[in-house]
């Protein structure tokens, strides 16, 4: 390769080694993360053309960026698509280039370190061999379905052939990612090796050229064209339980493309519901991409604050406090957890150990997390903590007293935060020597699943604490959302009228299953009655009362609470709960207008929250609703939904 020819490439570097192997490195110019923009792809096409003329003994494709392999296609380019034809062109380019790569006459290998997602995964699949580097940051997957689109560059064709239909469809339809070891077990990659031998392994595979692994007979049968419809039908049923076709066309399109077109989305006629054209007509993909961007926006709140945070002190080892502590330890922080007695700490420690075992497959890492979570009845950790989170019971005097005691021992630079849902920040901080130090960090239940944290800014809260709190949220991989301190903040405020209205429907004789079905048909992931049971009926009553403006609480709610049936946590609420799941009878016919009756109060409240400046703009209202309540993501959020249907929330 002449130096002049090499100089034409902005994003790729290549070099041939003494064994005749070509090492091709992607280091997209001007950005910190590798994504497959049009320019990157065209350059790849050019590189492959050159290599066709001067074939190497083998080709290694790797990333030149420390943060990962390739995160996927360039999502910003999706926003610039002006027509269906543009979209089809984008798909076709990627499809063709990766077909070229797959057809290379020399062996090819993808060396995957860090994230390898979407188009990046499809690039790796188009290579003959794949190596995953055995590190926790290595994750492989095809998350396109979560954006309402389909893997269009060969992923649907190649992944099932590699690992069999069941495993492939699971990854394709859920968008889940796997780590390096699981990828090896499934057969997605040929080797899972530590960094110290990753290059030797690449060299070894390309020079020795072991034959590709054959799928064992049962798995290879799943690729048989006659069996595909059967398998797809079963997969379709599973998808339908979580995502209805009218809301989320993408997973169904993936199945159709696999069954009818062997993974080539371009082979579908425009009238085919599985076609690109059809997918783009539904607003779902646009809205899900919008949701993805909202997520990026929330993440950006945490970028400016420094994270020299190493030690968190949590007071209160109940469900919230204990789980917050466990989560922080899981994410690598040292945590001291305080409560009134060792007996109150022990169950939280046990729950934490379970979380570590589930999330950290490696026993050494699970042990390290367990070591980092320090039971601390005496509160010795306060003096050393960078962040102090209060998560005791909702009692103003207790919190005031506690914060006065904490503030006296805390570092001057420590963040003092409360997880309160219902007590105004200004009141909690009233007795502090410096009330401007108090901020709210409002987590959601269950902490391990809910990504949103409301950063509650009181009237007196110092402004510079917000980026610090947001940076802390990012450090523990949560999505920070700054909200004004007002009753219900954002999420509970939007949720309360929806839950209350749902319970009033039950009061009026509609079965809980039918009420839930109305919301599920609208696109909520969980019905309001089931959600109320999950949150806890006592909490629902407290929040509902606080925000209800004096209205009488739903009769059935108070009756259930009086009977001690508080929901999932007591095994009974509106539903019976066994094994952590609600026992639901089949729903009745959903009366027309029921969904609107449930959703409209939520929409109205979202508009009211915006009007009162609870968050800075409408997009953030939508972000909070989606990530805090699970509001039907395919709608793009409540205010976006209202705007799209051209009216107000009423």
């Amino acid at each position: 390769m002449s130096a002049a020819a090499a100089g034409e490439l902005r994003h790729w570097r290549f070099a041939r080694d003494g064994d005749g192997l070509e090492w091709l490195t992607l280091d997209r110019a001007g950005v910190s993360t590798n994504t497959l923009s049009a320019e990157v792809m065209e350059e790849l096409r050019a590189v492959l053309a050159r290599l066709a003329a001067d074939p190497p003994r083998g080709l290694v494709i790797r990333s030149g960026k420390a943060n990962g392999f390739i995160a996927g296609a360039d999502i910003d380019e999706f926003g610039e698509l002006k027509s269906v034809d543009d979209a089809i062109a984008l798909v076709r380019r990627g499809w063709d280039i990766f077909e070229d790569l797959a057809a290379a006459p020399y062996p090819t290998l993808a060396l995957v370190r860090g994230f390898c997602l979407g188009g990046g995964m499809e690039l790796a699949l188009a290579c003959r061999y794949r190596i995953a580097v055995d590190e926790p940051s290595t994750r492989l997957g095809l998350p396109e379905v979560m954006l309402g689109i389909v893997p269009g560059w060969g992923g649907i064709k190649r992944l099932p052939r590699l690992v069999g239909a069941p495993a492939a469809l699971d990854l394709l339809l859920t968008g889940r990612t796997v780590d390096a070891r699981r990828a090896r077990k499934l057969g997605i990659v040929d080797e899972c090796v530590p960094p110290r031998i990753m290059e030797n392994t690449a060299r070894g595979l390309l020079l020795q050229q072991p034959p590709p692994r054959r799928l064992p007979l049962p798995l290879s049968l799943t690729l048989n064209p006659l069996l595909r419809p059967v398998i797809a039908a079963s997969a379709r049923k599973q998808v339908a339980a979580r995502a209805r076709r009218e809301h989320y066309p993408a997973p169904y399109a993936i199945l159709d493309i696999w069954v009818k077109h062997d993974g080539d989305p371009l082979a579908a006629a425009p009238s085919d519901p599985a076609s690109i054209a059809h997918l783009l007509q539904s607003p779902t993909a646009r809205n899900l991409i919008r949701v993805f961007k909202l997520q990026e926006r929330l993440k950006a709140f945490g970028k400016d604050g420094e994270s020299a945070i190493r030690h968190v002190h949590v007071v209160g080892a109940g469900t919230m406090g204990g789980d917050i502590a466990a989560w922080c330890a899981l994410r690598g922080l040292t945590v001291t957890l305080q409560d009134q007695s060792a007996e109150r700490l022990a169950p939280a420690i046990g729950r934490a150990a379970k979380l570590f075992a589930e999330r950290l497959r490696d026993p050494l890492r699970a042990r390290d997390a367990f070591d980092r979570l320090v039971p601390d009845v005496a509160g010795d950790g306060v003096a050393r903590a960078d962040v102090i989170i209060e998560a005791i019971f909702e009692n103003l005097e207790a919190k005031q007293k506690l914060f006065v005691a904490l503030e006296a021992r805390a570092k001057p630079t420590a963040l003092l935060a409360t997880n309160t849902s219902s007590i105004p920040l200004e009141e909690i901080g009233a007795t502090l020597p410096d009330p401007t130090r108090l901020i709210g960090l409002h987590f959601f239940n269950p902490v391990a699943k809910m990504m949103l944290v409301e950063i509650v800014v009181g009237r007196r809260t110092r402004g510079d604490l917000v980026p610090l709190a947001a940076a802390f949220a990012r450090k523990i991989d949560k999505l920070p959302l700054p909200v004004k301190s007002a009753p219900g903040f954002l999420v509970n405020r939007i949720l309360a009228p929806y839950l209350m209205e749902a319970m009033r429907c039950v009061d009026q004789g509609i079965s809980p299953e039918t009420v839930d079905e109305a919301a599920l048909a609208f696109g909520m992931p969980v019905g309001p009655i089931e959600l109320a049971d999950s949150v806890g009926l006592d909490i629902c009553l407290a929040v509902g009362t606080m925000l209800g403006g004096g209205a009488e609480p739903p009769k059935r709610l108070t009756e259930r609470i009086a009977a001690g049936a508080l929901g999932r946590k007591t095994g009974r609420g509106f539903y019976e709960w066994t094994g952590g799941k609600a026992v639901k009878r089949p729903p009745g016919v959903v009366p027309p207008g029921l969904a609107g009756r449930l959703i409209d109060p939520m929409l109205a409240e979202a508009e009211a929250a915006l009007a009162q400046g609870i968050v800075a703009d409408a997009d953030l209202v939508d972000a909070g609703a989606i990530f805090g309540t699970g509001f039907a993501p395919f709608t793009g959020g409540p205010l976006h939904y209202v705007a799209a249907r051209g009216g107000s929330g009423a």
Binding site: T334, T336, A342, E343, L345, A346, P347, A348, I349, G350, R351, A353, K354, A357, R367, D368, F370, D371, R372, V374, P375, D376, A378, D380, G381, A383, R384
Partner: protein, 430 residues
């Protein structure tokens, strides 16, 4: 006189009795839970320690150099060295002594030192016959050779493991179990079974009273296991250890006609104990509160067959060096390896004959007031996790002096193999 070495504070885990199966915590887990809690109380960061020294008589094979393993796990960071010491039953006291030496030499100014053992996890070992069979099987290459080796496998050899703890508690030089050395002392000093059982019952009674009065509250850090279970207190102590009940037990070491039973011996136990030791400069630099100082220490050797008299041989030079009579010591901790052994020590000090012939003294030193000895009970009721005991008794001694406003105390321990160790401590601001 050497520069003072301060004890800032200390913690220990509850001591958990071994019950026929591996206990819930490995030795390193015990040391981690107690150690990180102690460091939490300190105004300095763990990274500021100069070193970590941990005594341990039998770490598991996957805890090699347990001192370093634990130092890393409790967050001391990559740069703080950690090492492990072993002087059998006094390993914990040896750790303190090594810290003392390094601080006095100016090599360290802030040291975390202690001891741990999880005796319930002492391994079962393959007999030598089985080990040789494994070696031969591994060397066999062909199918025929392997088959031949399999035919030579002896089920009896496979099913009779060596019990590691029994090996560990047997002196390899004189071939006596520790309890048999106690029988030797009982014979020499005429100590009866009744006296042993009475002493043992008193140890339990004192521990129970101490638990009720909260005398262990400051030093014990509860243990939490992964199932959410809490271990808040020493669990070997029993309310029904009365002399009558203890009299029913059969002798354990010399079966049939011996006097030493499981009831009047220390228990086999899991536990850890730690202290932070500091130089004067470190105390000033970090503004550390202090419990007291370790003034002096002594190691002594004697006949392994009478190892239980180790405390006498180690403590006496301390008394002499500092011109102290027995009564000048406000509180004593003598590790209760066996009731007979502690009683023998007391009688040795009270014996003209013994003091002259064995210690080179002009005559008997006298009697130790029982009210000053092991005031909150000892290893008979609490258990003796070998590595931890030497550290526990020093820590508790300092806590006793704080409580009773005593001035000076001596902690002494007998050591399997025929040694004794002793430390002279003084309360802070005494």
């Amino acid at each position: 006189m050497s520069a003072p070495v301060y004890v800032v504070d200390g913690t220990r885990t509850p001591f958990l009795k071994a019950r026929n199966r591996p206990g819930p915590f490995a030795a390193s887990d015990l040391a981690v839970q107690a150690g990180r809690a102690l460091l939490s109380r300190m105004p300095f960061a763990p990274e500021q320690l100069d070193e970590v020294i941990l005594g341990c008589a039998s770490p598991s094979p996957d805890e090699v150099n347990i001192g370093r393993v634990v130092a890393l796990r409790i967050g001391c960071g990559l740069k703080v060295p950690g090492w492990t010491v072993m002087r059998n039953c006094a390993s914990g006291m040896q750790a303190l002594d090594s810290a003392l030496t390094n601080i006095r030499a100016g090599r360290s100014s802030l040291v975390l030192a202690g001891g741990v053992d999880a005796l319930s996890r002492a391994p079962l070992l393959y007999s030598e016959k089985m080990v040789l069979w494994f070696a031969a099987f591994s060397a066999a290459r062909t199918f025929g050779q392997k088959a031949g080796a399999l035919l030579k496998l002896s089920p009896a050899a496979m099913l009779t493991p060596v019990i590691g703890i029994m090996k560990g508690l047997t002196d390899p030089v004189v071939g006596l179990m520790m309890g048999q050395t106690a029988e030797n002392l009982a014979f020499r000093f005429g100590i009866t079974r009744r006296e042993m059982d009475a002493f043992a019952a008193e140890s339990h009674r004192r521990v129970l009273a101490a638990q009720k009065a909260g005398h262990f509250d400051r030093e014990i850090v509860p243990l939490y296991d992964k199932g959410g279970k809490l271990y808040p207190a020493d669990d070997g102590v029993r309310e029904d250890s009365t002399p009558e009940n203890l009299a029913k037990l059969k002798p354990f070491f010399d079966r049939k006609y011996g006097n030493v039973t499981a009831g009047n011996s220390s228990q086999i136990t899991d536990g850890a104990a730690w202290m932070v030791l500091a130089s004067e400069a470190a105390v000033a630099r970090h503004k550390l509160p202090v419990l007291g100082t370790i003034v002096d220490s002594e190691w002594a050797g004697l006949d392994p067959a009478e190892m239980g008299l180790g405390p006498v041989h180690a403590a006496t030079p301390l008394l002499q060096r500092h011109a102290l009579a027995l009564g000048d010591v406000d509180a004593w901790e003598i590790n209760e390896a066996f009731a007979a052994q502690v009683i023998a020590c007391l009688q040795a000090w009270d014996s003209d004959d013994y003091c002259r012939s064995a210690l080179g003294l002009p005559g008997a030193l006298g009697r130790i007031d029982p009210a000053r000895l092991n005031v909150d009970g000892g290893a008979i009721a609490l258990g003796h996790p070998v590595g931890a005991s030497g550290a526990r008794i020093v820590l508790h001694l300092l806590n006793v002096l704080q409580r009773t406003k005593g001035r000076r105390g001596i902690a002494a321990i007998c050591i399997g193999g025929g040694q004794g160790g002793a430390m002279l401590v003084e309360r802070a601001n005494a």
